[in-house]
């Protein structure tokens, strides 16, 4: 009798595992978007709100022919080429010489039992080679350096992996943040980017959550660099919620969940946004 009960419990657990989980979340969201906007192809999600606004997309393309933020990217390249105190470079330290890796981040580090973002990996290199870590929110150092590193992965497909208990827990934490209402205005990320995609707040078209993680950093209004986690903090501020410190556990877990949603889409760092 006890064995039958145990077998039944096992079956129920298995069925649960098969019907839920990260891939199920991603596919369900894609199916919802397909119902909302049947004319948008999968690869267009990487264009964000521009996919829903042909005029804005045309304007974007013309600005990107001569990006007004080219000077910032040069600063990032200089930092990338500057050897660390040990004499080694970032290319010596990062996997695959730092090329075609951004789509693997954030990843879950089982040994440290936490999410590691690309910025964390850059800082790990710095610390391991005798330098102090950069502040995640410093656009002049980590910002421009991450802009260069991410551009080395342009064309790569987002391929976030969630494997193992710790990884799944971090993913679920990020998902919780994404769907939780926050701040005086009481919006969640999903209020706008799941339930109201394509609708306008004033003149701003709300974008798909899928694809949002593929194009960071962005440059606003010319050369103001904004990283993905800075954008999370800005969103929290707009919702009249106290933002977290960039690089903290909650934003890292959110970035892990959020980036997973973009799996299969092509990365393109450093884009202009209004």
């Amino acid at each position: 009798m006890r064995m039958i009960a145990a077998a039944l419990a096992g079956l129920i657990l298995l069925a649960g595992a098969a019907s839920a989980g990260p891939e199920d979340d991603r596919l369900k969201l894609l199916a919802l978007y397909k119902r909302q906007h049947s004319d948008i192809r999968f690869e267009q999600y990487a264009d964000g709100a521009l996919a829903l606004d042909p005029d804005a997309l045309a304007q974007f393309r013309s600005i990107m022919e001569f990006p007004p933020f080219a000077g910032e990217l040069e600063k990032g390249e200089r930092l990338w080429k500057t050897p660390l105190r040990s004499g080694k470079t970032y290319a010596d330290c990062l996997p695959n010489g730092g090329r075609m890796i951004a789509g693997n981040y954030p990843l879950f580090d089982n040994a440290r039992n936490k999410v590691v973002t690309l910025e964390d990996a850059i800082n790990d290199c710095r610390v391991a080679n005798g330098e102090a870590a950069y502040a995640h929110g410093d656009a002049k150092t980590m910002g421009v350096l991450s802009a260069h590193v991410r551009a080395l992965s342009d064309g790569m497909k987002m391929s976030i992996k969630v494997e193992g208990e710790g990884a799944l827990k971090a993913f679920e934490e990020g998902k919780k943040t994404f769907y939780a209402r926050a701040g005086q205005l009481n919006f969640s990320c999903a209020s706008c980017h799941v339930d109201n995609v394509g609708n306008r707040l004033r003149a701003e078209v709300l974008s798909f959550a899928v694809g949002q993680a593929t194009h960071w950093p962005v440059f606003r209004g010319g050369d103001q660099l904004v990283t993905l986690q800075q954008r999370y903090a800005d969103c929290h501020l707009y919702m009249r919620h106290v933002p977290d410190a960039l690089g903290g556990e909650r934003y890292n877990n959110l970035e892990y969940f959020h980036s997973y949603l973009s799996n299969g889409l092509t990365l393109r760092a450093n884009v202009f946004r209004r």
């Binding site: 005086q184 009481n186 919006f187 609708n199 306008r200 004033r202 003149a203």
Partner: protein, 117 residues
């Protein structure tokens, strides 16, 4: 130049619709400012409003039209503005009263203005 334009506008409003109209405008004015302004009510961020000089209105919420037909009971409209999630937990609308985004008197002013639309 601008002052002269304002004086001309005020005079024309006064002579065109007289004291009754001016009284009604005074009653509507604070609510309208809250509905149109971005700092507090910012209703037009999500709601369309045809006419009255409304610009760059959003469309995440239903347009503010035929309000008396939709809300014969003004208190139902007030309750929606105070906390829309009470009657619809999935509502996108911020709970203006419950979260103290607007004060009670400010909500009354918004209700007065919106109910006339």
């Amino acid at each position: 130049m601008r002052i002269r334009a304002i004086v001309v506008y005020c005079l024309s409003v006064y002579f065109l619709c007289g004291p009754v109209c001016a009284q009604q405008a005074a009653k509507e004015a604070p609510g309208k400012a809250l509905v149109f302004g971005q700092a507090k009510g910012n209703c037009l961020s999500c709601h369309g409003l045809p006419g009255l000089g409304a610009e760059l209105t959003g469309n995440a919420g239903p347009p503010l039209i035929a309000m008396q037909a939709r809300f014969p009971d003004k208190s139902v409209l007030r309750a929606k503005i105070w906390d829309a999630t009470a009657s619809n937990p999935a509502s996108f609308m911020p709970p203006f009263g419950k979260h103290g985004i607007l004060g009670e008197e400010e909500i009354n002013q918004v209700v007065e203005f919106v109910h006339g639309l």
